[in-house]
C-alpha cells in the first residue's frame, strides 16, 4: 500500500460522497431538463445541491454554476467575463505563480483576442504585493485573477486585501480556490470576491466536476453553447451524480475542517522540521505560516527531483516534483522559479501534500527513508552547491 503525499494532485473519494452519488447513476437517472417525474426528481437533486453549496458560500443559489472541472470554471470566469466586458477595457491582472489554467487562458486572450495582461511578481514566499497590484490597475483594467492558495508551494494570498483594492478601483476579482476550498474560509460575503472557481477532485469528491461562483450583476458570456443549462452559462445536460457529489464533498470538508486543519498543520510542521533537521542543504519553499495546512514543498540541493521521486516510489512513497525532467516542456516549475530560486535549485524541489489518510506513522516512514535517498543521490552527483549559492 502506498503512502500518499500527493493530495494536491487529487484525493480519493470520501465514502460518504460515494454514497451520496450512488443513487443518481441508475436509480435516479433522469435529465433535470425533462418535464416528467423522473426528470423532476433529478432536477430536485441538482437544486438541493446548489442550495447546499450556496449556504456554504453564503451566497444566492443563482450565483452557483456547475462545470466540468476547476479548469473549466477558470476558463468560464476569465474568458466569459472579459469577453462580456471588453467595451469597458482590455486589461487583465494576474500573477506569475498561477495555475496553468489561468496562465494559459490569459496568454490565449493576449495572443488571439487583443487583451493585455499584467503578470505580477511575487516575493520570495510567493505573495503578491497589494501596492504593486494597485499600481498596476489602469482605467483599462477590468479583471484581477489571483489564486487563493498555491497548488505547488501552498502559499495563501491576502484575498480580503486584494478584494478591497479591486473594489476601490471598481475592478472585478476572480480567485482560483481549487486548493483552498477544503481548508480555508469560502464565505464570499466575508471575502468580497466576484468570481470563485472550485473543483471536486481536491475535496475528496469526484473528478470531472467544478463550480463557479458568479456574483449577481457580474456579466459573463458562455464558452459552451447549447441547450442553455446553468442559467445559460454552461450548456450540456447536468451531471447529476457528480453535482450531488461535489455538494456533499464541500459540505463535509467545510464542516470538518477545524479539527482537520489542526491535525494536518501539526503533521506538516512535524514533517518539515524533521526533514530540514535531518537533511543538510534543504529548505522550505513558500510562506512559513501563511500556507495551506497540508503542503510542504522542500528543495534538496545537488539532486534531481525525478531521481528522488523514483527512489521514494520504491519505498511506496508518492509525492511530486518541480523538476524539469518531470514536465512536458522540460522546464522546471514556473512557481519555484517565480519565488526566485535559480534553475539549479528548482530541479531538486519536492512537494509533499498531506490529507485525510495521512498518519504520523506515514510521515515517520518518510522521515526515516528520505535522508538516505538524498545522501545516496548526492554521492552520485558531481554537483556540490552551498545554501549561499541559492540565497535570495
Amino acid at each position: 500500500m502506498e503512502i500518499y503525499f500527493d493530495h494536491a494532485a487529487t484525493t480519493y473519494m470520501d465514502p460518504r460522497v460515494v454514497e451520496a452519488m450512488n443513487r443518481y447513476f441508475s436509480d435516479e437517472y433522469g435529465n433535470p431538463g425533462s418535464f416528467n417525474t423522473v426528470g423532476l426528481r433529478a432536477k430536485q437533486a441538482v437544486d438541493e445541491s446548489r442550495k447546499k453549496i450556496s449556504e456554504l458560500l453564503n451566497c444566492d443559489e443563482k450565483e452557483i454554476i456547475f462545470t466540468g472541472s476547476g479548469t473549466e470554471s477558470i476558463n468560464l470566469a476569465i474568458k466569459g467575463f472579459v469577453r462580456a466586458n471588453k467595451s469597458k477595457g482590455n486589461h487583465i491582472i494576474t500573477q506569475k505563480t498561477e495555475h496553468e489554467a489561468v496562465l494559459e487562458t490569459c496568454e490565449y486572450l493576449e495572443k488571439e483576442e487583443g487583451f493585455n495582461v499584467t503578470y505580477l511578481d511575487v516575493d520570495e514566499y510567493g505573495l503578491i504585493s497589494l501596492e504593486n497590484l494597485e499600481k498596476s490597475i489602469t482605467d483599462k483594467t477590468i479583471l484581477v485573477s489571483i489564486m487563493y492558495a498555491n497548488n505547488e508551494i501552498g502559499t495563501v494570498q491576502n484575498i480580503k486585501g486584494i478584494s478591497e483594492v479591486c473594489k476601490k478601483h471598481n475592478v472585478k476579482f476572480h480567485t482560483d480556490a481549487c486548493q483552498a476550498a477544503g481548508y480555508l474560509d469560502i464565505d464570499i460575503k466575508n471575502l468580497g470576491i466576484d468570481l470563485m472557481s472550485i473543483n471536486g477532485s481536491k475535496l475528496y469528491g469526484p473528478k470531472g466536476i467544478g463550480l463557479l461562483y458568479v456574483k449577481r450583476g457580474t456579466m459573463l458570456k458562455p464558452i459552451i453553447h447549447g441547450g442553455g443549462q446553468e442559467f445559460g452559462l454552461r450548456s450540456g445536460t447536468e451531471n447529476v451524480p457528480y453535482i450531488a457529489g461535489i455538494a456533499k464533498a464541500l459540505e463535509i470538508a467545510q464542516r470538518e475542517k477545524d479539527n482537520e486543519i489542526i491535525r494536518l498543520t501539526n503533521l506538516r510542521d512535524y514533517l518539515i522540521n524533521n526533514i530540514l533537521e535531518r537533511i543538510p542543504k534543504s529548505f522550505l519553499n513558500g510562506h512559513p505560516s501563511s500556507r495551506l495546512p497540508n503542503n510542504a514543498n522542500i528543495t534538496f540541493l545537488d539532486v534531481e527531483g525525478e531521481a528522488i521521486m523514483l527512489m521514494m516510489n520504491e519505498y511506496g512513497i508518492c509525492a511530486s516534483s518541480g523538476s524539469a525532467c518531470t514536465s512536458k516542456t522540460l522546464d522546471p516549475s514556473h512557481v519555484i522559479l517565480a519565488i526566485g530560486l535559480p534553475y539549479e535549485a528548482a530541479h531538486g524541489s519536492i512537494r509533499f501534500t498531506l490529507g485525510k489518510r495521512t498518519t504520523k506513522e506515514g510521515v515517520d516512514k518518510l522521515i526515516d527513508v528520505l535522508p538516505g535517498i538524498i545522501e545516496y543521490l548526492r554521492q552520485v552527483s558531481p554537483v556540490n552547491l552551498s545554501l549561499k549559492d541559492v540565497e535570495r
Binding site: 545537488d302 525525478e306 521521486m309 514536465s327 516542456t329
Partner: protein, 214 residues
C-alpha cells in the same frame, strides 16, 4: 510497481523498463563521492551540462596503448533516464575487453536506448548527455596524447560555454519553430548559465530565420 513510476507536476506520468530501473538503482561503474578514484590513473576526462539545465555529467576514461577503453567511470546529476543511460553506456564501451575509441565514438544515443529496452519518448534527450560526455573525454584523451588532429569538433561551434550549446542546436530550434530568443531559450536552455552568449544567439536566430523562412 504497477502504477506509473513517475508522476509529474503537470499531471502526466510515465513508466520505465526493468532494465532502466536496474541501471538506476544499481548503476554500474559509478564513482561515489566517498569513493573517489585516482584521477591520475585516467587519461581522458569529460564534463558536460550544468545543474541549471537539470543534467550534469562527469566521465573518466582509462584508455590503453592500443586505444582500447579499459575503464569508464562517471558521476551524474540528473534524472533516472540520465543515470541509467550513462550506466549503460559505460557498460557498452567496456564490456568484452573494451571498445576501441573509434568504435566507441560510433555509439549513438539510440543504441543506448535500445539496450535499455527503451525510454519514454519525452525522456529520450536525457540519454544524449552521457554520449556528449564520452565525446568530450575522448577528445581530452587525444589532446593529452598529442593527437590534436584527431579532436573532433563535431562541425559545430559552441556558443553557450557552460551548457556547451552549439550554433547547430540553435539552428535546430529555429527549424522546429522557435522564432524568438525566449522560445529558443525554452527549447535549448541557451543563455541561462552563460549570459555572455545572448547577443550572439540573437544574431544566429536572425540568421537562421532569414535563411529558412526569408
Amino acid at each position: 510497481m504497477n502504477m506509473a513510476d513517475v508522476k509529474s507536476h503537470d499531471n502526466t506520468s510515465w513508466f520505465y523498463t526493468d532494465t532502466v530501473k536496474d541501471h538506476f538503482f544499481n548503476p554500474r561503474n559509478l564513482v561515489k563521492k566517498d569513493n573517489e578514484i585516482e584521477v591520475k590513473d585516467f587519461n581522458g576526462v569529460g564534463s558536460v551540462g550544468s545543474p541549471a539545465c537539470g543534467d550534469q555529467m562527469s566521465l573518466w576514461l582509462k584508455i590503453d596503448e592500443n586505444e582500447i577503453i579499459k575503464e569508464c567511470r562517471w558521476r551524474c546529476f540528473g534524472c533516472a533516464s540520465a543515470i541509467a543511460s550513462t550506466s549503460m553506456l559505460s557498460v557498452m564501451i567496456t564490456e568484452n575487453g573494451g571498445m576501441k575509441i573509434n568504435e566507441a565514438m560510433k555509439v549513438k544515443p539510440q543504441d543506448i536506448v535500445k539496450r535499455l529496452d527503451g525510454l519514454p519518448a519525452r525522456k529520450f534527450h536525457c540519454s544524449v548527455l552521457g554520449d556528449k560526455a564520452l565525446r568530450a573525454a575522448i577528445n581530452d584523451y587525444f589532446k593529452r596524447s598529442g593527437q590534436n588532429e584527431k579532436v573532433i569538433v563535431e562541425g559545430a561551434k559552441i556558443v553557450d560555454k557552460i551548457l556547451k550549446i552549439t550554433d547547430k542546436d540553435i539552428e535546430e530550434a529555429v527549424l522546429e519553430g522557435a522564432d524568438t530568443f525566449e522560445k529558443v531559450q525554452k527549447k535549448t536552455k541557451v543563455g541561462i548559465s552563460d549570459k555572455t552568449c545572448i547577443p550572439e544567439v540573437e544574431q544566429l536566430i536572425r540568421f537562421y530565420k532569414e535563411k529558412y523562412f526569408g
